[in-house]
Symmetry: C2
Amino acid sequence: MTPALPTAFVATLHALLGEDGWRTDDRALEAHAQDNSWRHTLPAGVAFPRDREQVVALVRACREHRIALVARGAGTGTTGAAVPMEGSIVLSFARMNRILAIQPGDRCAVVEPGVLNGDLQQALMPHGLFWPPDPSSAEICSIGGNLACNAGGPRAVKYGTSRDNVLGLVAVTGAGELITCGGPYTKDATGYDLTHLLVGSEGTLALIVEATLKLTPLPVTQAGLRVLYRDADAAAQAVSRLMAQPVVPTRLEFMDAGSLELLRRNGADVPEAGAMLLVEADGDHDTLPYLLQALAAAAEGDGLIALDVAMEGSARETLWAARKALSPALRSIAPGKINEDVVVPVSRIPALVAGVQALSAEFGLPIVTFGHAGNGNLHVNILYHPDDAGENARAHAALPRVFALTLALGGTLSGEHGIGLAKRDFMAQAFTPATLAAMRAIKGALDPEGILNPGKVLPPV
Amino acid sequence: MTPALPTAFVATLHALLGEDGWRTDDRALEAHAQDNSWRHTLPAGVAFPRDREQVVALVRACREHRIALVARGAGTGTTGAAVPMEGSIVLSFARMNRILAIQPGDRCAVVEPGVLNGDLQQALMPHGLFWPPDPSSAEICSIGGNLACNAGGPRAVKYGTSRDNVLGLVAVTGAGELITCGGPYTKDATGYDLTHLLVGSEGTLALIVEATLKLTPLPVTQAGLRVLYRDADAAAQAVSRLMAQPVVPTRLEFMDAGSLELLRRNGADVPEAGAMLLVEADGDHDTLPYLLQALAAAAEGDGLIALDVAMEGSARETLWAARKALSPALRSIAPGKINEDVVVPVSRIPALVAGVQALSAEFGLPIVTFGHAGNGNLHVNILYHPDDAGENARAHAALPRVFALTLALGGTLSGEHGIGLAKRDFMAQAFTPATLAAMRAIKGALDPEGILNPGKVLPPV
């Protein structure tokens, strides 16, 4: 049984947030019990602050009563970072969802954390601007969540991840103090860089209550190439060539043979091949043909089967729809899926793909690999039937081997999903004890009582 | 008199570093007593470690004996960050100057901190790559110093500053622990971002002993525009227009009327105008004309006097030589110069320039403003005769007003020089007490005894 919250604490929250700002009814608790990792724990209550002052008061109350506080955007994360623990309360940013300013002359926007990524993009469009992070949940995920997990997406190869696209933050530390770092400028050598430290810290150091986001002018037009290769190795070699020349693609996605088979099984018109790259560029009508030419030249090489240019329009949309459909389509092979987003140096993609194929054979399970090859950030999907005890055990035994392979290749655990609970216990393989100790010291500095999202990111000592 | 170093400490350093690795002779002390801020304090000794193990041992010895340790690259900084304090020792990275790896396929290089920026660029050239940070001291400054101060330069408008161009670090904290963060990959959502935190921390949190740098392919060609305007306001408006369209210039430099007068006085062929922009783009031979066209279209507008295209070659070189000569040429007006590198939102450049001109009139001193307008990062030079007591007093009274103006416009103290001693006492105007307290807490977490470069960056409590 969950221990009841202290009466004085509940009274404080009631007074602070009002009837509709502090909820403990079953429906509210159930709605905030899980994220997209399917972990499930009911919180002891859900707070809906309306402004930063309420967040400060809430954190101070939690600190005083040693109540764990789990910040939540839209709950689309895949690692359990937003899943509560027993006895904790959830702080939902759903009501702090205002776009406070759009400053086209400074190429920035100021937002509250609950603004949805998709809503921001809509608001920016009339200004000819966009915010680059484009996780596949972009329509429904929140900016606060994007920042907390350092979300990426296919466009990151050209435009960077969330961390690369934030200029300043206002946040409430675990000490209950409001801090302000960075601002609407693009160059900063003034004091410690708290802004980038907080991005990706998954609500364990401070709660972001306002963000100044770096915007990019919308390109005039885009176009793509579909390139088929004999095998994964030939495609991976092409990725290295593509990334070694000056034209940076807007997106550079890799799909292995298993991904292509899946696309065909679902009716997509994809020829037989060992692997495929989707390469995209953006620019204006004058320059784009030259950019595509440079990319096509780099894509060519040993093992190329076919290269098709898909200009703007339906051919291009069909291509990307097929890529987007991949993740849900995995369920047609097996109902269970462990999806990790490991990163390796681009030159080690061939070794990663070969190593994953070897693990697939060793564990007797399909493993489908696709993703953001330009960043060396591949989604490795281990497929299994959860009700089949043997498959279940083999899938979970294969996972540490995927991480060990990644680390042996000089890579790291996550490129855009984050750590949360899902990868927390692998952190000790990714970092030395001294490095983890430094991270814990920083956690202690900003959250002295350890009330912010305890048990996430860092493994227990 | 400086107190003598403890005998046991000196014995440890002798045993660790050998005769030539630990020096206390006058010549060594004098050579490490100042940086480019002209502050001067003799250290108690200078250590020249050869590898990270020696750095670890050195920091541990300093920690044990509570000796302050000031890390030093090439001493080209302008804020006093590398200037020792009484009784401290200097750690020179001059002997840790190896390029450990260049990995063109991963677009990265692994270097020790003592490698000179210029030497790295030379080594990268055969690979068709470069490292973007280009401070004006690029030929002779060290990568470690660039990272410690988050150095920038004109190219930052397109390619970012040092912080934007580092993928991973190995560093020794003030606790004497070796930590490793990031690596040869471009996407990372794995634990706390210590990498970007250490960049710009000026040797106060940890000492960088190895850096994995993000490289960029060298563009095929470059070309520039010289644009003259009626006044600073018209030029500043053009900066906003230039930054609001999709073609990002490689460099976008602003020069006010005082700068132009100075150029003419030194024989440069610059027509009469109220302000000038140098705008540059890079690309290949096919696309560059279109990029220049887009930039020229954005540069045009109210107040434009003349727009000249200077393609690759001598015309372009002459332009940039004139820009580079500006800083030393200031001495022809007055021997004393306070040079600050404030940052404002791009849209506030007109207000900054006007405000600085008002301060020039109020204090009766020439103030010349030029710099990296695309980032809102302008160098404000207050000129005076140091031997004239009145001018000296007025110059130092004008400085806080420049910072107050910058902060009132939503800007910050430094874009690329850093804080060091020079701007330390203005930090309390730039940040709230709670934000400074958070920075101090992080300092305490990574450097518990406060031995790393004490008294720099953060003002005394």
